[in-house]
Amino acid sequence: MNDQVPVVGEERPETCRAPDAEERSLWRRVMDQFADHCRSRSLFVLHYCTGCGAVELPPTITSRFDMERVGVSPMVTPRQADLLLITGYLSVKTLKRVILSYEQMQSPKYVLGFGSCTINGGMYWNSYATVKRLDQYIPVDGFIAGCMPRPEAVQQVILDLMRRIDSGQANAWRDYYLDYDTYLGRQAALFGEEWHTPTDVVAEARHYGYFGPGTTGVHTARLKNYTEWALNQIPELLPERGRNEKART
């Protein structure tokens, strides 16, 4: 427990990087390819339908088009899901929940945008309530054009995603760690300066080995201030914090 409390101002290596494919040992390359192959054959879709594209998901999943035969199945919790389908337009209120769900998912994770609304606003290009471009706020692996996308199109994009996972090309989730500061800045510009999520993305970036120069910056510095503020707000944690600092000195 003590180790999990982040200490403000602690010295850490500024960047860390997972080895590229050619730098890895043969054994690790083989195991990674095997893992990618397995991963692409068992995609669990998070059961969160944001807009009207959700109406074509039941036909895609059930008897007629039956995505379960290629290993795609709905999953009710973000922690166990691999694939987040953004099924249509996003209002600002929904985008907050989407980001919270996305950050709760375990890496590697994939995002597909349904319909024109996620690409450029689509039908609601001049609406005051919707978000026009999804890929400004979270990294997206693929888009389906059209309104509404047909079940065949949904199948096609999922098969394409499976092929890219299998060959190790579906790596949009790394961008979220490498450019977290930029993404957080855009989110804060939309939701306000107080915006923060319970997930510590910076620590996750270190964990996965994708802590780059773009991971921290002016926007993540605000989070640090928030952490210090929160530490002072919660009296139960203060003794632990003191103990932690004592252990360091």
Binding site: G51, P58, T62, S91, R97, Y124, S127, T199, L237
Partner: protein, 380 residues
């Protein structure tokens, strides 16, 4: 993890707790949330939390031409879009003084009734899924797909048709589509007894749905309930009969009612309505074979189409209840104001909040599905 996640929250010394039900929840019909305060698993208070699907339709419609809004209105209600098109088109016709040709009127009735069957099949599947019966969901959705194929053949799209335009319909029926519709109706009738066995004679359904989410007739009238939910409480109220539009006066059909007002009664009403829709469709097929003529009255240049100043209110019986459009024109090329009266707003906010009180947590999703509320239409 940041430390705030690990803070021990000081709960008040009480057996009551609050639970956020949705929006990331498979039992919820769409992107919608309910805050429930529970004592054990008995609901003390429920507060609907919408707004996840707000797009500002009424404002968007003021910024587009009258003809452009045809593409916008079906997106208000996703599972049942045709009544929205019909209500908007009739509002424009009332303002502009357009006369719809007879053949177009019959085609419109056909589209409205197919859409009603589709929507009821969707609800049938979803309602069963909330109490753990997934076979019904698979059957209902595969049956609905047969009707979606007909939609695709007639209009070119499975979900959003944009087929009904002011003054008629967009194009004529393809060759032989009436025969295929008849064959689909035969298939539907053949499978109706199977659906009956699977859902309405199912001990699980009867035990879970009987006495759940009861709305008395007095409450239903006070809360603004319309459509199958009101007929499930015992009042034979139907816009098709009370305020007839198109060619409904020429058609023979009954208005099914149940008196219990619970979730089972509402689903029974929907089942009987599907039978009535099939009966209407058979009459429509018979009449459409004998009617030839134009499918649309001549329209002016749609890009410079100024509707005369005035205001009109039209209403249509959708599968969810009464849909109303109030359109005001100031004589310009765009609407001055359009107000949408959707049935789901009443059902999913004020009715749901009151009906859930005293119910059980596991019945929340089932009650919401039995009210057949459509979250995109609640938020608009």
């Amino acid at each position: 993890m940041r430390p705030e996640n690990y803070s021990p929250v000081q709960h008040p010394p009480s057996h009551e707790y609050e639970l956020y039900f949705g929006p990331n929840h498979p039992g919820i019909e769409g992107n919608y949330a309910i805050r429930v305060r529970l004592n054990g698993d008995v609901i003390q208070e429920a507060i609907a939390d919408g707004g996840y699907l707000h797009r500002g339709f009424e404002k968007l419609m003021e910024q587009r031409l009258w003809i452009q809004n045809i593409a916008l209105v079906p997106r208000i209600c996703v599972p049942d879009p045709v009544p929205m098109e019909e209500a908007y088109a009739r509002a424009v016709e009332a303002l502009g003084g357009l006369e719809v040709p007879e053949r177009a009127q019959w085609i419109r009735v056909m589209m409205l009734e197919i859409s009603r069957i589709c929507s009821h099949l969707f609800t049938f599947g979803g309602n069963a899924a909330t109490i753990g019966l997934y076979t019904n969901m698979f059957w209902g959705i595969s049956m609905r797909d047969l009707f979606l194929d007909l939609f695709e053949e007639i209009t070119g799209a499975r979900i959003y048709h944009m087929y009904i335009t002011p003054g008629g319909v967009r194009r004529d029926l393809p060759e032989g589509v009436l025969d295929r519709l008849e064959a689909t109706l035969d298939e539907m009738e053949r499978r109706t007894p199977e659906f009956e066995d699977l859902f309405f004679d199912n001990a699980v359904v009867i035990k879970r749905a009987r006495g759940t989410g009861v709305i008395s007739l007095r409450d239903a009238l006070a809360w603004g309930v319309t459509g199958p939910n009101l007929r499930g409480s015992g009042l034979p109220s139907d816009v098709r009969r009370d305020d007839p539009y198109l060619v409904y006066p020429d058609l023979e059909f009954d208005i099914p009612t149940e008196v219990e007002g619970d979730a089972l009664a509402r689903m029974r009403v929907r089942k009987a309505e599907v039978v009535q829709s099939i009966r209407i469709l058979r009459q429509v097929i018979e009449r459409l074979r004998g009617i030839e003529g134009p499918i649309r009255c001549p329209l002016p240049n749609p890009l410079a189409w100024n509707i005369p100043a005035g205001e009109a209110y039209t209403r249509v019986e959708s599968s969810k209840g009464e849909v109303g459009f109030f359109a005001v024109s100031d004589g310009g090329p765009k609407p001055y104001r359009v107000h949408v009266r959707g049935p789901s707003q009443m059902h999913a906010v004020q009715v749901l909040e009151r009906v859930l009180k005293g119910g059980r947590l596991e019945d929340v999703a089932q009650i919401m599905f039995s009210l057949d509320a459509c979250p995109p239409e609640v938020d608009r």
